[in-house]
């Protein structure tokens, strides 16, 4: 006997994607036309796994190579800033060696995609780490300046103020009062 089956490609694909994403425990919304919004950012490994899971079925994760490179630059910067013994590295040399591109190229791609510079992003991350050291480790500004390779406490203070608009001591005061308010 013969059966005629009518099917809708779109439904199949959507259902299939849903299953695969649920296998990896991802929360998401489908936006149609193959666009999916994930509730959180995927780690590089999780994205690899997803790609590998989808490829055999003819699905391919389309990505913008430049955005991928920018994410790698950001990851490398974070690694550098959170290294406790980073005295020997110049950030431009570190990035160029780690990512196998000239610093000039990396710098151009970064600005093109994020509308801000690598230098600014490094400062932003350093100040972010300073905030953490201040709040979590309760370190003094002198200790933090030393750990993050600032030439002086004044230099760290100035950069903190330039980046956030407030002084380190005002920052500490605000967060402390916020926490008291929450109690």
């Amino acid at each position: 006997m013969k059966l005629f089956i009518k099917f809708d490609i779109n439904t199949i694909c959507t259902l299939f994607l849903k299953e695969k994403l649920e296998e990896q425990n991802m929360n998401f919304t489908t936006l149609g036309f193959g666009e999916i919004e994930l509730d959180e950012n995927l780690s590089v490994e999780a994205l690899e796994t997803l790609k590998n899971n989808l490829n055999p079925y003819g699905f391919e994760v389309v990505e913008n190579q430049k955005s991928v490179l920018v994410q790698k630059i950001k990851d490398a910067i974070i690694e550098l800033v959170y290294m406790d013994d980073n005295n020997n590295f110049k950030s431009s040399v570190f990035l160029a060696e780690k990512l196998n591109h000239s610093y000039g190229y990396l710098s151009n791609v970064f600005s093109e995609v994020t509308y801000s510079s690598i230098e600014n992003f490094i400062i932003l991350q350093k100040i972010e780490r300073a905030k953490q050291l201040m709040l979590v480790n309760e370190m003094s500004l002198t200790e933090i300046a030393f750990l993050l390779n600032y030439s002086s406490v004044a230099h760290l203070s100035t950069q903190f103020k330039n980046t956030t608009g407030i002084t380190p001591s005002a920052f500490q005061r605000i967060i402390k009062k916020r926490r008291e308010n929450l109690k």
């Binding site: 994020t114 709040l135 407030i166 605000i174 308010n181």
Partner: protein, 149 residues
């Protein structure tokens, strides 16, 4: 930078100021979609509408009739599903006390309302770029404080 436009909600009772912001947002590099509300009551009503798309950044004028920006800020921070919205307060006041106070109440950004268009554009660019970094680079939002003049 990103596929979907950044969703901005702006609460201000002054029509000139709303237009001023609207024009500035149109000229920044990042694609944005701006929604306006006219006072504090309307703002809270909007945010508490079921299934409403919450903004990525809320620009909040401190001085508004019916319900002030500060009252809204406190209410938002007390509401479980709203408290993670990034809030940018703007005001003509530059009293240190006012500024610290709004930060303590949970604002992330304090903007001294600029009088010229180019400064406003510069400020908006800075806010949007930094917000994006916080969004994509695992920075701690609880420590996100920024004061712009």
């Amino acid at each position: 930078m990103q596929k979907n436009a950044l969703h901005i909600l702006l609460a201000d009772d002054d029509e000139d100021d709303r237009l001023f912001f609207k024009d500035a947002f149109e000229e920044v590099r990042v694609q944005t979609k701006v929604t306006f509300v006219h006072d504090g009551l309307q703002l809270m009503e909007h945010l508490l509408t079921p299934d409403v798309k919450l903004p990525d950044i809320l620009f909040l004028d401190l001085n508004m009739p019916k319900k002030t920006g500060k009252e809204c800020l406190i209410e938002i921070k007390k509401t479980e599903h709203l408290k993670n919205i990034i809030i940018a307060i703007y005001s003509t006041s530059s009293s240190e006390e006012d500024i610290e106070d709004t930060f303590i109440e949970g604002a992330n950004i304090y903007i001294k309302k600029p009088s010229d268009f180019n400064t406003l554009k510069k400020i908006i660019n800075e806010v949007v770029t930094l917000n994006w970094h916080y969004h994509t680079s695992g920075l701690n939002r609880d420590n996100f404080l920024l004061r712009l003049k």
